[in-house]
């Protein structure tokens, strides 16, 4: 029986899709059969980030409506044999996500996959609710700034009251915090919230801290999950987070500014 993991945040632009792409690729590269689903009906982007936009024929909404079979809509990643993508429709809206339809698709996916990653849209409306409703685990993607933290707090409340596990009185959804776009230098200057400040407010276990990195934007534009970039600090941080998710105990990196000599400082200035 596969596990359903929702990537959610409340706020937009914090890195849910980047994280969904990186996490699913990370799990698959460790041999776990993984599928990542785009729940952002009408504003689809996951296929671009995963670099499979040229192969989309059928999508999640077609499967929900019974117009295509699941296996017709699943796209197999070309880089990782255990990774599949279920893209969504750009021409429909969130009303296309019915609870029965989503449940049917997820039930079928649970039989085929170890991990089902649900890339949630921003907000706390229908799309986000459908993405989190059937979740077993939730990864809350948060940026170190007050508005993002407040929205994450809100979505945690939604998870604890309106998910299926909450409604049916089962074990609660397991929550993980993933702090993204973390810039230790700006934290040191007092321009950004510290990891500890965020943890104090949200009070859920920390899964990873992803440093702000140019490689993330580059990876998005070329359609490669950043975790597959061996030179990227963000990629390293995502690999660590996947390891922790799978139960490994790894030290946190990228939380302090890099120590640089005078010469490197000079290089950075002139760059």
């Amino acid at each position: 029986m596969g596990k359903v993991i929702v990537m959610t945040s409340g706020k937009g632009g914090v890195g849910k899709t980047t994280t969904s792409a990186a996490f699913s690729a990370g799990l698959a590269s460790r041999g776990h059969k993984t599928v990542v689903i785009d729940f952002d009906v009408g504003l689809r982007n996951l296929d671009l980030i995963m670099g499979c936009e040229r192969r989309v024929v059928f999508d999640f909404v077609h499967v929900i409506n019974g117009d295509a079979r699941l296996n017709q809509a699943l796209i197999r990643d070309k880089r990782l044999e255990h990774l599949y993508i279920l893209p969504t429709s750009q021409t429909r809206d969130k009303d296309a996500l019915t609870r029965e339809g989503v449940e049917r698709v997820l039930t079928e996916l649970r039989e085929q996959f170890e991990y089902i990653i649900c890339d949630s849209p921003a907000g706390i409306e229908r799309g986000a609710l459908m993405a989190l409703y059937f979740a077993d685990e939730a990864i809350i993607v948060t940026n170190p700034e007050v508005s993002s933290v407040r929205d994450s707090d809100r979505i945690l409340g939604v998870l604890q009251s309106r998910s299926r596990r909450a409604e049916e009185g089962l074990d609660p959804v397991r929550e993980h915090l993933l702090l993204s776009r973390y810039d230790p230098e700006r934290v040191e200057r007092g321009e950004m919230m510290k990891v500890d400040d965020v943890l104090e407010i949200l009070a859920i276990p920390l899964l990873g801290v992803i440093p702000e990195s140019r490689s993330v934007l580059k990876a998005s534009n070329v359609g490669t999950p950043v975790i597959l970039d061996p030179q990227s600090a963000a990629g390293d941080a995502y690999r660590d987070a996947v390891g922790r998710f799978l139960g490994e105990s790894l030290p946190f990196r990228f939380m302090r500014p890099e120590r640089r000599g005078l010469f490197q400082r000079f290089l950075r200035r002139s760059a």
Binding site: R54, R55, F58, H62, Q72, T91
Partner: protein
């Protein structure tokens, strides 16, 4: 209700036989109790209201309500309907048993259509918008017969335009994530970046023409080609797309 019906073309001098797909509108008659005399009385009253409309009208017998009903005489039902000048051509939503007796009585079986179970698309067949009507410009997208739908503005991501019973001409570009649907041809005088479905109801002679091909997907009569399968040397070029057998062909415009 529409249902696809296969129709034999006229025999040609070369003795070649042509089967061609065609789409016709058929009436569905819901059969709730084939033995109930009240049903036939009500039917007679209905027909009397518009006798010309119903005379020799082909009808599909919808057996959805009879799934658990005891067996009945299909031939007798058909005979009685013919007495009312209706022409039963097929059954829909029948049980295996009922379908068998329909075949024995000389009428056909229609699968899919509204009300019944959803038809599963074949491997090389795309089905778009079977549930719910296309939105966005669709209200304006019903030109009178013989006319062509003309779109002068860019079609943005997420928009969907359906030219029902007609061709569509777009003087601007189609963004990625936008969708054009037409029962006939599609002409795009800008760049085609989104999806284009021509011959949506099965017209294999429909074509797609565009000034610059960067499409995500093109389809003709249900046969498609995604961007990845398009030849690189034609990307960004003026092309036409047509169907050759079951093959979607993309050719540079002369």
């Amino acid at each position: 209700m529409t249902a696809p019906v296969r129709k034999a073309g006229p025999a040609e001098e070369t003795v070649s036989i042509q089967f061609r797909g065609g789409l016709y509108t058929l009436m569905r008659l819901k059969i709730s109790n084939p033995r109930d005399q009240a049903f036939f009385t009500a039917l007679m009253t209905k027909i009397a209201q518009a006798p010309d409309f119903f005379r020799h009208a082909p009808v599909v017998l919808d057996l959805q309500d009879l799934a658990d009903a005891p067996p009945f005489n299909m031939a007798e039902l058909i005979r009685r309907l013919r007495q009312h000048q209706l022409v039963p051509v097929a059954v829909a939503n029948g049980t295996d048993e009922q379908n068998k007796s329909a075949i024995n009585a000389g009428i056909s079986i229609l699968r899919g259509g509204g009300g019944g179970e959803a038809a599963v698309p074949r491997a090389a067949e795309i089905s778009v918008l079977p549930t719910g009507e296309p939105r966005e410009a669709s209200a304006a997208a019903v030109p009178a017969a013989g006319q062509t739908l003309l779109v002068t503005q860019a079609v943005r991501s997420g928009q969907q335009i359906y030219a029902r019973h007609s061709d569509i001409v777009v003087l601007a570009s189609i963004s990625a994530g936008a969708e054009l649907l037409s029962d006939g041809h599609i002409h795009v005088y800008g760049t085609l970046r989104g999806r284009a479905h021509a011959g949506l109801k099965g017209n294999g002679a429909a074509r797609i023409f565009c000034r610059s091909l960067e499409a995500e997907l093109v389809s003709i009569a249900g046969f498609w080609r995604v961007r990845e399968d398009m030849p690189d040397d034609l990307i960004g070029k003026p092309v036409q797309v047509f169907l050759k057998g079951e093959q979607v062909v993309i050719e540079p415009l002369p």
